[in-house]
């Protein structure tokens, strides 16, 4: 994300959360926080507890935000927000929290007869590779709950569609043949088997390193008179440090009801 993207993200985020924005320049704005966002990010639980107990009139904070470091001056009330700043990290995790579960409908144009919308399940998340080092990989998998067809990068396919959480007029949804819970299972099964097919040099390497350290520890304790307990504890710590494993983590996902097939969008207009 460049600073311009961050600026856009911030103004999108605040507006979507009913905080009004007053532009101050092309890189700065003032935002009137909503009660809800103030509670989430300003870290003043006692204030809010008090206001609610006393039935008081809340006055949520206003923030001045600048996204260009060269325009920062001594005004202590202005927050400079950049890629690594704690404020942005806080908003990032809030954004993930707020986008966790969805149900969305393709907004099809009304036609002469009602249009069927077919159910898809999409899961987005990470495949995390752990050892003494760590990396991750993003996945976005869509599964048709009617045909069982599975699509990679599902989110990229649908993100620019006309989509909303309201069911449009003159449409109806088809009942899924696959239950959403078994859909989640299927997608995870697919991810697991694709990970299994990879070659895991990184894991071999970690195991080798672990064995070296375990052997050193053993030698250390053969003559050392320390208790067995510390030896076991240290052995366990070494395993925890190196033991390679993979985790799937689903960060967000949604039911999609689509008339068009995701690879055939945009639909042809007549």
């Amino acid at each position: 994300m460049q600073q311009a993207d961050i600026h856009l993200f911030l103004s999108d985020f605040f507006q979507e959360n009913r905080c009004s924005i007053q532009p101050l320049s092309s890189t700065a704005f003032e935002v009137q926080l909503s009660n809800e966002i103030d509670k989430e990010i300003m870290n003043r639980p006692f204030y809010w507890h008090y206001i609610e107990k006393m039935n008081g009139q809340p006055s949520p904070f206003k923030l001045k935000i600048e996204t260009d470091s060269s325009k920062m001056n001594d005004d202590k009330k202005t927050e400079f927000i950049h890629y690594g700043s704690p404020r942005l990290r806080q908003l990032f995790s809030l954004a993930i929290q707020k986008g966790k579960f969805g149900r969305f409908y393709e907004q099809v144009q009304p036609e002469l007869q009602s249009v069927p919308l077919k159910p898809w399940l999409c899961l987005n998340g990470f495949i995390n590779y752990h050892s003494h080092l760590k990396k991750n990989r993003f996945f976005s998998i869509g599964l048709s709950l009617i045909t069982g067809e599975m699509l990679n990068d599902f989110h990229d396919l649908v993100q620019n569609w006309k989509i909303d959480s309201q069911l449009p007029h003159y449409t109806f949804t088809l009942s899924p043949l696959v239950k959403e819970s078994s859909g989640i299972e299927r997608i995870q099964h697919y991810l697991v088997s694709s990970v299994e097919k990879e070659t895991h040099h990184w894991a071999d390497e970690a195991i080798t390193k672990m064995n070296v350290d375990l052997k050193l520890l053993e030698q250390f304790y053969t003559s050392e008179t320390s208790s067995n307990e510390t030896y076991e504890k240290e052995k366990q710590t070494i395993s925890e440090q190196f033991q390679p494993y993979v985790t799937l983590s689903i960060e967000n996902g949604a039911m999609f009801y689509l008339n068009s097939h995701p690879v055939n969008y945009p639909p042809l207009k007549f």
Binding site: F101, E180, L217
Partner: protein, 558 residues
Amino acid sequence: MDVMIQRDHQWGEQFSEALSQPGSLSTWKHYNMGVQVMKEMVISDFKGLVTPKHLPHVTFHDYQMETAKKVMEEMHGKAILADEVGLGKTIEAGLILKEYMIRGLVSKVLILSPASLVTQWCQELNEKFFIPAVEQRKKPQWESVDVMVTSIDTAKKEPHAETIKTIDYDMIIIDEAHKLKNKRTKNYQFARQLNNKFCLLLTATPIQNKLSEIYYLISLLKPGYLGSEETFSSLYKSGNKNDELQQLIQKVMVRNRRETTNMKWTKRIVKTIPIEFSEAERKVYDSITNLKTPLKEESNPLQGGLLTLTMQRELCSSREAAFMTLKQTLEKMDSPSPTIVEEMQSIMVALHELPAHPKAVKVVDLINSWEEDEKVVIFTEYRATQLYLQWYLSQNGITSVPFRGGFKRGKKDWMKQLFKNHARVLIATEAGGEGINLQFCHRIINYDLPWNPMRIEQRIGRLHRLGQESDVYIYHLAIQNTIENHILQLLYKKIGLFEGVIGELDHILEKFNQQSVQEYLSSTFSSSETEGEIRIKMEHLASLMLEKNEGENRHATS
């Protein structure tokens, strides 16, 4: 090979619950923003550093980034960071910690630093790295605080130690770790019991005298890496297998040196100022020297020799320092012979009558010859000298603040602040040398010379470090024809301590493991009977040190 793969069971349950409560579902925009953020959180490679992207306001030098990568990728996060003083070990440790935290490998952290540095650590981590480090308070929340900074002296006390030992830390950082080289100390045993996946030990002087000292430090990191204690001593203590040991050490230690960092460092300008004793002072010095034989008869020869030596060194620093030792010795003696009592008492009287110490006079001259706003740090080995100097400077209208290792954290910070904003001089005793950064000052006076050459490097490093923008002036004061001069002429000059080859010094010491330098010096001066004997022994030491170093250089270039 087969790798264990864990599925995510939690999300699905929450999802079906959310679907049954439509009010809790996300908007299309929120959902998209969530995905957008996730894509930002991808770290597609095990290797490399993502931290610099997060911290655009911090300039990381190449050697610091290389160090962080090496520690994580090759040393698996268990390393001794042993850069020379002033190269930014804290920055390197912060960089490594941050990288682990961003990658999600580390969240629970304990940082043990000298008490005087706790505040500084917290500040750097918070302001530079955005790591929410918390300073331990009266009632520390060991369990609930994720990144805690505390002094080892606090942590090892009950009830804290009990709790800390039960916590599984992801990472432990120990600053000034050379203090843990003695396995019999409480500090060492405490450190040995901490559970950690990753561990960084920071020290500028991993080896102060003998290469073998490093055994215990490494046993904190990786027990068994240098074998068991017995195998280690039989293999390496003799010093025959130093090269092998050196290679092993390099796999767990990173040591950046000034000259290899490719950075422009300001110069060090070293001046040795010879000082003459007055006739009266010379007389007292000689009578102290003459105490050696009777003192040896009074107690055992070694003790008597050492005591004389101490008082000789003290007189070169201040009357007060020598006086204190004389007084204490007299009090402690069991039924001393009347002649030695008389002799010592007359020395004490003579000390009383001496005028201002010639070194103090010289210091005032020096300071007065500089611009009004020039600041200077004076290092001395003796408390008594520190007090005397403070008094003497104020008599001459020069403001000064004292600095000692024993000061509480807050007092140290305050003294540093006073020095920066109000006083011209900071007078520090040896223990005060650690953990203060004084880049805003660029003059240093070594009022007396420590016997461990590494100490000099550490003193200079307080000023000559990252962030120092001017050349650093270093003044050594040495009194002619005294023990001080022997050290200066016979050893330090020979090994090039003052000629700017600084930085190679520790290199020399690393190789030099025959016998602790300090021990050798003490025994030379306390047991030698004649000047000539001292001279020969000192030359022997100097040539040993140099030979070892040149041998190493030849080896490296061939």
